[in-house]
Assembly symmetry: C2
Homo-oligomer: 557 residues x 2
Amino acid sequence: MNKIVVIGGVAAGLKAAAKARRGDPQASITVLERGKLISYGACGMPYYVGGDVNDIEDLMKTPVGIVRSSAFFKNVKDLDVLIQTEATAIDRQAKVVTVKKLATGETDTIPYDKLVIATGASPIKPPLPGVALDNIFSLWHPDDAKMIRQGIEAGNFKHAVIIGAGLVGMEMAEALTKRQLQVTVVEMKEQIFPAFLDAEIAGIASKYAVAKGITLLTEEKVERFTGETRVTAVETDKRTIPADLVILAIGARPNVELAKTAGLTIGVTGAIVVDEEMRTNDPDIYAGGDCVENINRLSGQKVFAPMGSTANKHGRVIGENLCGGHVKFKGVLNTVVAKLHNLTVGKTGLSERDAKQLGYDYITAMVAGHDKPHYMPGAKPITVKLIAEVQTGKVLGMQAVGEGEVAKRVDVVAAVLTLGGTIDDLFDIDLSYAPPYNSPIDNVAVAANAVMNKLAGKFKGISPLVAKEKLENGKTVFLDVRTPDEWKQIRLSDSPNIKYIPLGQLRNRVAELNKQDEVVAFCKISLRGYDAEGILEGAGFENVKVMEGGIVSWPFS
Amino acid sequence: MNKIVVIGGVAAGLKAAAKARRGDPQASITVLERGKLISYGACGMPYYVGGDVNDIEDLMKTPVGIVRSSAFFKNVKDLDVLIQTEATAIDRQAKVVTVKKLATGETDTIPYDKLVIATGASPIKPPLPGVALDNIFSLWHPDDAKMIRQGIEAGNFKHAVIIGAGLVGMEMAEALTKRQLQVTVVEMKEQIFPAFLDAEIAGIASKYAVAKGITLLTEEKVERFTGETRVTAVETDKRTIPADLVILAIGARPNVELAKTAGLTIGVTGAIVVDEEMRTNDPDIYAGGDCVENINRLSGQKVFAPMGSTANKHGRVIGENLCGGHVKFKGVLNTVVAKLHNLTVGKTGLSERDAKQLGYDYITAMVAGHDKPHYMPGAKPITVKLIAEVQTGKVLGMQAVGEGEVAKRVDVVAAVLTLGGTIDDLFDIDLSYAPPYNSPIDNVAVAANAVMNKLAGKFKGISPLVAKEKLENGKTVFLDVRTPDEWKQIRLSDSPNIKYIPLGQLRNRVAELNKQDEVVAFCKISLRGYDAEGILEGAGFENVKVMEGGIVSWPFS
């Protein structure tokens, strides 16, 4: 009888165990979990804090309300799940795991034929003065979430400071602003979502966050936390911020001590190295979930990218291979999506920053547009940035942001990336079309077309980052071609370099512009800006550009 | 100077013309449109009738409210759009189009170097007695939509009969039930959406439509319409249905008379034949939009599949090629999506019916599940059916239905189909994951996994159609493993062949079942049904099956 031992009972571990049970009904399968809880939906915690989820228990239940307890797993999956049981050592020669019962302090040994390490990751706690004060939390365990919510509901928290503007940090910024707290996010890097968004897309999200009342402090470093027993302030290199609640969200580190001590190989990312079959350098030991490193399918680089979705895929692969399978996990695209009130940001594949670092000869295009026909109720704009390789047209990455439907577009591009598709392939996809769901030409197809037009020299788009420099240097004429109503409502800036001619009048008023000038045309989304480029080029202008994404995508306030 | 003439000014024609202008600023480009309106969002008409869109003019305007008139296209795109101007003949030798000014009856000739035929399609009017009575409409032109809506708002219509349960028919069924009309849909075939959905998926949608108050009459043939001047009843081969409003929605025919008379090749589908560059058999004449036939990328078969999305792609390809390009249109996947109140149905690629007809050795799996984690507000179930080739694992098609997010999943599979991906590729895609948008394992990945498990013999799923036969033949034990609460709320049927044992008790109550019996396990979505299969097989049962999709996907009332 095959003896399978799994260390870790949250996502990858239990998935592997359940899958192995289907492959081998006779095996003895033991899952060791040092905590009290197993199989909980950790990613749901910000939504519990924010109030979308009423009961923390919901994160631990099946859809019909059964708690995923040890008894449940025994009963339904025939798995022996031992909670409050920490694996303290692995003897690879003897093939034995030493465990400690945390409730009693007893130790024991459990023999294995095949071992799975799914020890997860832990939040990084910065070694700063005062970090141990009360009311400084990482949102890592349901107990954290419960204490934060209880504090909010008891009226103890008014001023929250979130350290780190990544996924968890910004999700918590939403949650806490929904709870009427004053929220300040402090980020060392120069933008929010620094790990995956390019600056101009992050800028759109920042502008939105600020409009929702979130204070964003970038390029700012926390130096200490002050207070008697409870935190009362966060001191940065620039200021002191009053705080009665602090959320540490500066990332996580893989839990690799056990593996490392057992002599398993740890990679450049600090996580456990596994091969395509999720096997460590010991052929009888698999590892998966947040404690292992992944390969980025596009760059081929090793990455530490802990995600619940990836952990579940690992679990399936390990479960199959524990029973003699040879299933491969081919890697990740570093896809992410995040909600910030009614805004969604998403990304898949390489960012422009990644593409540059990797030495690609790449081209980008950014387009804005409604997520369905403008005449439909609820149509909202989104901005899509596409990155492709110049010579092959291969899609390298995509980012999107907006109040409209972003996740669908990210997922379509993720599918194209998985199969190595080009911008032509992306344009060609017969995507579902009906007015409640989409425009006849989907936003990603518009973006693909913009890349094609740029490659063909027909569309001379520039990013808002470049546009801003040009606007400030004063040598370029900016041409706003919107309607008088739009012009009244909002302006790109009050710069005297902006000339206003509605598109409908442009053909007759071309003489007001100088053919020798560099002209940057734009409108709300810059589709009319592109028409303006056509009109001016037709009239003999030779240095006309379009500000990609238009006013909707202008990332500056 | 290149003289380009385009016949048809709705979707493909104007897109081709605008694109050609970008490629050739000097060309003379004339667009001939026999109607008064150009470039309108025809697909939005059901939403105008239903009240989602307030003003029919919105379908003819740009997002900032500018009417897309001839003057607009002249001004912005430098196109000469002649409305109420019908092309009556093409002289391919002389390269001249004869036109008739419909307002005055005058005729004229217009020479061309390159011609584009984008004459669209027309609704099929059945040659039945009484079809010319008042208040019998096709929803084809904005004037139809206006008259229907005016009649509704004047209180003239109470009993609507819709002929045809395809896309337009069912969209109108939604629109008219929203307007509080009594709606009956009469369909000759045995199911709704007969052209693209398999029976069990259509059944789920039918059940929903009936619950929304729509009367569905399938396998029923309209024989005549009766009334004095206005229609008062629809007579079918089975009954007489009182009606004060009739919508004809039995499909469309391509407008090919002009092309045919000019000697251009018409295909097996009745539409104009074009090559990959959208060129007819005359090298100077292109054709696109609803008047041409397309190729299905999967089957290689010619299809007549008029869609606004496809027409726009055609327009782009033609526009590029008019200016010396060699861009190819590679075909369609017959992707569709439709909204029926809060339900969405969608499909891409081949249906099971198609796969069977084409002689594929295929496998299907149907899975149900929430569209995001069950603990998130607004999580709703969807049912996904996946069709794949047995030997290669190549994905052939997908259908989905439910109140949850369907369009995203359809589009992801459309991307995989475009690139020839397999079920492994589909499972592997690093789709965006965060609780507001998705579960860690997306519904399409669950479906891909179900196909893999079926191929490996681990999951013995049967479709609800097969299950129903087994339930009725009485030789099979159906095993419902839901919770007592669920059992109280709803039953699959009152058949005595259904045995009820909650999953949590199954391991201890196995003796109540007979190992010799065929057992079909199920639950709400049949995930616990699959667990039950595991428990029973572990206990030595050899003939256990799972009813795919569970009660959520049961297509029978």
